[in-house]
Symmetry: C2
Subunit: 332 residues, 2 copies
Amino acid sequence: MTILVTGGCGFVGINVAEELVARGERIVLFDRKPLPASALRDLGGATSRVCVVNGDIGDVELLRSLCNEHRIDRIVHAAAITADARREARDPGSILAVNVQGTVSILEAARAARCSKFVFVGSGAAYGKTHDAGLLLDEASSPSSPQDLYAISKFAAERTAQRLGALWEIRVVCVRLGSVCGPWEFATGVRDLLYPQLQVAQLAVRGEQAVIPAREVWRDWIYSRDVATAIAMLATAGEAGIPMYHLSSGIDWKGSFVDWCRILADHFPRFRWRIAAGDEPTNVSFVLEHDRAPMDITRIVEGIGFKPRFDPTCAYRDYIGWIDRHRDFMAQ
Amino acid sequence: MTILVTGGCGFVGINVAEELVARGERIVLFDRKPLPASALRDLGGATSRVCVVNGDIGDVELLRSLCNEHRIDRIVHAAAITADARREARDPGSILAVNVQGTVSILEAARAARCSKFVFVGSGAAYGKTHDAGLLLDEASSPSSPQDLYAISKFAAERTAQRLGALWEIRVVCVRLGSVCGPWEFATGVRDLLYPQLQVAQLAVRGEQAVIPAREVWRDWIYSRDVATAIAMLATAGEAGIPMYHLSSGIDWKGSFVDWCRILADHFPRFRWRIAAGDEPTNVSFVLEHDRAPMDITRIVEGIGFKPRFDPTCAYRDYIGWIDRHRDFMAQ
């Protein structure tokens, strides 16, 4: 079977691509930008099973002919603009066009190609400001309350995918991701907010100093390799009937960020880091200022047999190895 | 002050227009279709204060120049596609484009024109399938769970308006309407579902027979004149700070539908109606099959001093008088 990954040359997309190729699948990566050279190199041994198509997610005709030509059977839809407040204020229309209308476009192509499965990559941001890290979010009962345009558009797209799946008889399954860190995170041009693990790694690679916030914000971290595993399982499995799964690690990463700084300092001797004192300005940010409640992952664990492999220690050990092998990519 | 009403030639829009004109305001009605002749006639005495502009809600340039030319100070944004499932399956892109992207367009025009207030006309449909008529929905705590594309797009637009209002410093206030019945409901071309009061009135005017469902579905009815009063109050008031109000009657209309049938039968001697027996097919539908929980209106009553004037008896008495004076419109 051939699987189309939209946003396939972006952070989550490349991880999914590598996982699918490792499983022997043929893939088509659709993206507005080319695949980074180092990702192409990593996928090199399997280039006969990898095709990259560049285009706009709003271009229904292109998507239709692509699905037809490559006999696309399944789709992972990860294309999105991950906007910060500046982009929201400057160009809200594009965020909604790409994230919402783009989802309709790719669903129209999926329908025309009679795809048997559509995996929508959504976000835990749909829950809004959950604050209370003591709360455990539940797919069936926790209310969605998206606040910014990224969250609003991802929630609208998720619900649109579910609705059109029902009307058009496409098996749609949605995942809401936790905060993803790990290989292939980079400033794609539509990813405005980079996570602190990458921010500090970039400083480390450049041999600069990191001043990190005194308070570590609680977020529901998951390593990008685990995200890819679960999405590949969903894309290739025959299961149906569950409209939405949480996809996070189910592990409390609190306190692990300083471990990451230490690991980086061991690897990059010129790198220095310290915790900001008092009101001292930082050059690393947790992106969100407030804690985010964790998402219960029982549904995906029991439903498809997904088991996260990476706790913070494993994740950071793997990530530092990846960074070592991708110095060129990190230096960009 | 001059107030722009988008969707101003549609059901809610015309009611708002009449109310604003009665209050002495100048208005510009923006719509894809012309104002119905009978509405133009009703507004006739005040034509110097009424202007109709036809165009597409996605046409930001037109909206900008319109706001500039007419020195628009405030906006009531009621333009939307009220889609049924057939339209959703046939043309989902247009529903989202008009309802979501259209909201961004008009907000962009509002920003450029430095409008002092923006009233977004949303829908209680954002709550989704609430079922339990014993529940009382609350603005602050009831979860939104939109299911169909109309609800999904109206919810996304509401949140987008709130977000851009905050980023662009426009005072945005949103209302979620109950189910609106009364004068000026008609098949506008973007209103796929007509409410049972109109369905049965059309049969009455034509002297045909109505077979109504044995079970009256609970909906949170409000008379269109009350909707217009509250929206006009919000559009003209100086208040701020509340992001969203329910706008419904706060009255239980259960059982009143047969009264409406009786009133119509008194007025239209050729009209016959009866309750469907057993599995007998009906030619009137409540649109929704399930009950919808009522919305608490304490916030708007206490917040702006809105007091619904129409209980079912008053509403139907007023509506039958309006129908009498608009036989030509009803016969279309």
